[in-house]
Amino acid sequence: MLALHRISKSYPGVDALRGVSLAVGAGEVLGLVGENGAGKSTLIRIVSGAERPDRGRIEFEGEAAAFASPADARDRGIAVIHQELSLVPQLSVRENLFLGAGWSRRGIVRRRWEEREARRLLDLLELDIDPDARCSELSLGARQAVEIAKALALEPRLLILDEPTAALSPREARALLRQVRGVACRGAAAIYISHRLEEIEAVADRVAVLRDGELVHGIDRHEPAGEGDRRLPLDRDELIEAMVGRSLSTEFPPRFPQAIGEPRLEVRGLSAGRRVRDVSFDIRRGEVLGLAGLVGAGRTEVARMISGAVASDGGEVRLDGRRLDLRSPRQAIRSGICLLPEDRRGEGLVLSRSARDNFALPNLDRFRRWRTLVDRRREGQAFSRWREQLDIRLARPGQRVATLSGGNQQKVVIARWLERGARVVLCDEPTRGIDVGARYEIYEWIRRIASEGKSVLLISSELEEVLGLSDRVLVMHEGRIRGEIPDPASADPAGVLRIAAGIDRSEEPSVA
């Protein structure tokens, strides 16, 4: 259906793609993996008509294709679902689904038809979403799902999904993967890009691995024996190795249980309406406490309340035995509680400013002179110290943080809290959208922070990550802590998932 022949594209100074040839057949799902900067995005931009290749040919449905614009590509039946959302928050789900041209009858909205069609699309995706709800009222995951429904409404010939599950709960993600398979079954093709290799495993017929703009692996899968049997010939470790070009011996850095000391942060009866109910736990010195659960279980809210970002309805938080009055992030930071927010670009960084400015923002009082002036020399010294330690890759300290890769951006946020001398670090999805290599570095830093006697709360939707990194894991379901996994290294992921889904309960949440 789609064939790329020796596609090359270079930007001044960078060869983004070097002679990449690919083919996707009708009824096939191609998994596309690679580290950030490997050229995946460029490839997608070329296929979707946003960019022209320097060299090479594109064939689509048997004829040579040169898409003039994304709209042109869309008209030919290529639908792209991006990581970023393109919904109008003020409009309802139904209005968003049929926002594009061609759905109305001579400019008059066909309301009945739309209602029926919206129901059908949402049911296809097994989404429990009210078509008349405003998109601004939906969770991030639900909005992403609506985005997918919107693309499916076009009945595309080729569906391109770029990290579509980043914000979805596992259940929503599974439904999405089924839908992608469904699209393929109806004779369309799909290209699926994800950092989550288990998703690639579940959905892809073939996997293409890009590294530094080159195709390092075009891996054909064996002919499908049946719907249930779609095993890839490569296992995950081999895939990772192909992506990074080196072998990651262990996926997670070692733990140091002997370093764990006295309880440092004590949370008692924390509540916020129906989203968080009576949550109590301790984090000890040197401990990484994992918080597992589905999207919407209330984990983020817990972290946000402890960090003073939102007010709680009740409960108390003690740090080293002293009761905290958490009314603002400013106060929390002063007491040594720091948050790595889930939405790094929206809540963590001021994208219009430099990496150094972002690093310095909460630390300006440490670099000040005569009460108010910023001592730029000391600021620069502190930044270059952490930049070296964390291996933050920059062209220059004044480089705008918006132009950094996800991993480097996250390191800037980590550096800022290390400089601050954080005692408790709350990590909310610390590796979201970060490529495999940088991901491991982040893991190392989380362990290292703990080994220095600090306490870490780790929230992650990737079960492997929580289990692999934490000393102890709490599982949340619908605002409550439903279970504790004292030894995550040997825990059964399926069991944890059952607790998170509200099916099982482990022993009563114990509070030391």
Partner: protein, 466 residues
């Protein structure tokens, strides 16, 4: 990052040049405008200054080999006096004797010539400037007339014109500094024009009624001015409170304050007028006059030849620049404007920063109001109407983004100057004020267009270097 790999040297230089131009676009525009204005105002210049007076004196000395006597002719303006004094100083102690001096009209020249003829004294030459050399009595006196030679130079580029341009726009520039802070936080302040009027009226009314009117001491006048500035700052604090505590959009909050402050300024002015002439005063007064002459110093005086409003503007500019680039507060303002949520989660006291920003903007407007009141020797309740739009235009032309987080104090100063230079150029060229509006409208649209295009260019550049 391998930024320069695979790029030719010429391409690299071109990119660097474009980069530099892009970053300092407003400076380039200002320089271009100055060039155009200079070219368009290339005129014959006949300055009446002490320098041209000295030149005339040298001419006379060269032309008169033997002892001789000279009549100095000038009008009775201040510049003429300076000119005449320079001639006399140039001739002092030489063989040339001053036969007489005329400061006035052609008629007085004739009378002086007749008087000299009556005394029988000889007259060998007349020293004067270009304008008086054309007078009938001077031309028909029958003696050589010496006047300074003229030369060609752009009228725009004369010190007098430049000082004038900047001086007339100093108040706009001062308010624009405060507005820059507000716009950096992604806000807007429509009340600045009204706060300017309110500050001026409060300063004038208190100077007249509380601090002694004509007999007011400098300290009293200073206190009156301070009261005006404080009132404007409080106005800013009020809109800041509306914006932070009650989440009112800045546009609406400051729109309310705009009307409120204008009304208050008029009420105060009318009340003062009533107390002055008794209950029966009709209509609204043009201005609340201040009788103390010292009051006018700030707006009309000069330091080392530089008008005070310019001095004040430059001082405030340097202060605002340092505030925004060197202090924690400056960093906080940029952070709040760039991403409020990230700033808050990073421990920036967002509410305090916003309050301070609106308060400062009010204070800057108040300062401009004091300058205005001083310049007109009284507080004018209708001063500063539509200033908010001119000020916003200056900030936008200076490169600040209305979306917040991007912009510089230096850019704003240049933006204000760009508008001032265009206005001046159009004035010299004789373009009517209603026609000028078209030009300014187009200018603002062009500036906003650039603002919109810039992120695209920047993201393209970012993609290239990734």
């Amino acid at each position: 990052m391998p930024e320069d790999v695979g790029e030719s040297a010429a391409g690299r230089w071109r990119r660097r040049l474009l980069d530099l131009l892009g970053r300092n676009l407003s400076v380039v525009v200002l320089a271009l405008l100055c060039l155009i204005s200079s070219a368009a105002t290339w005129r014959e210049q006949n300055p009446i200054t002490s320098r041209s007076g000295g030149a005339v004196a040298r001419q006379v000395l060269e032309a008169c080999p033997a002892p001789c006597s000279v009549l100095v002719v000038a009008r009775d303006t201040e510049a003429d006096m300076v000119f005449a004094r320079a001639i006399e100083e140039g001739l002092e102690g030489s063989r040339v004797r001053i036969a007489g001096r005329v400061f006035g009209q052609p008629r007085e020249v004739r009378l002086e010539l007749e008087r000299l003829a009556g005394t029988g004294a000889s007259l060998d030459a007349i020293a004067t400037h270009r304008i008086a050399s054309e007078w009938g009595p001077v031309r028909t006196a029958g003696v050589p007339v010496f006047s300074p030679g003229s030369y060609h130079w752009p009228t725009f580029l004369t010190a007098r014109n430049l000082l004038n341009v900047v001086n007339q726009n100093a108040d706009i520039a001062i308010i624009a500094l405060g507005m820059t802070l507000v716009i950096l936080t992604a806000g807007i302040d429509l009340s600045v024009g009204s706060l300017l009027a309110l500050a001026g009226v409060i300063a004038a009314v208190t100077a007249q009624e509380w601090f002694g009117g004509a007999a007011a001491s400098p300290a009293g006048l200073l206190a009156a001015m301070l009261l005006g500035v404080v009132a404007a700052a409080l106005g800013g604090l009020l809109s800041g409170t509306m914006v932070t505590a009650f989440r009112v959009p800045p546009f609406v909050a400051t729109l309310g304050l705009m009307m409120l402050a204008r009304g208050l300024a008029l009420i105060l002015a009318v009340g003062h007028q009533r107390r002055l002439v008794g209950g029966g005063a009709e209509g609204t007064p043009e201005a609340v006059r201040v009788d103390a002459s010292v009051f006018a110093w700030l707006g009309n005086g000069a330091v080392l030849g530089v008008p005070n409003p310019i001095v004040l503007m430059l001082v405030l500019f340097v202060a605002a620049h340092l505030l925004m680039t060197r202090t924690m507060f400056g960093r906080y303002v940029y952070a709040v404007g760039g991403n409020v949520e990230a700033a808050r989660l990073s421990g920036v006291p967002v509410t305090a920063v916003l309050l301070a920003v609106y308060c400062l903007c009010g204070a800057f407007a108040g300062l401009a109001g004091i300058v205005d009141a001083s310049r007109f020797e009284g507080g004018r309740p209708n001063a500063g109407e539509l200033y908010e739009l001119q000020v916003i235009a200056a900030v936008v032309v200076g490169g600040a983004s209305l979306a917040g987080g991007r912009g510089r104090v230096a850019g704003t100063l240049i933006g204000a100057m760009i508008i001032a230079v265009i206005q001046n150029g159009l004035n010299i060229a004789g373009v009517a004020s209603y026609e000028q509006k078209v030009v300014f409208g187009a200018l603002i649209l062009a500036a906003v267009l650039l603002d919109r295009l810039q992120p695209k260019i920047a993201s393209r550049r970012a993609r290239m270097t990734r």
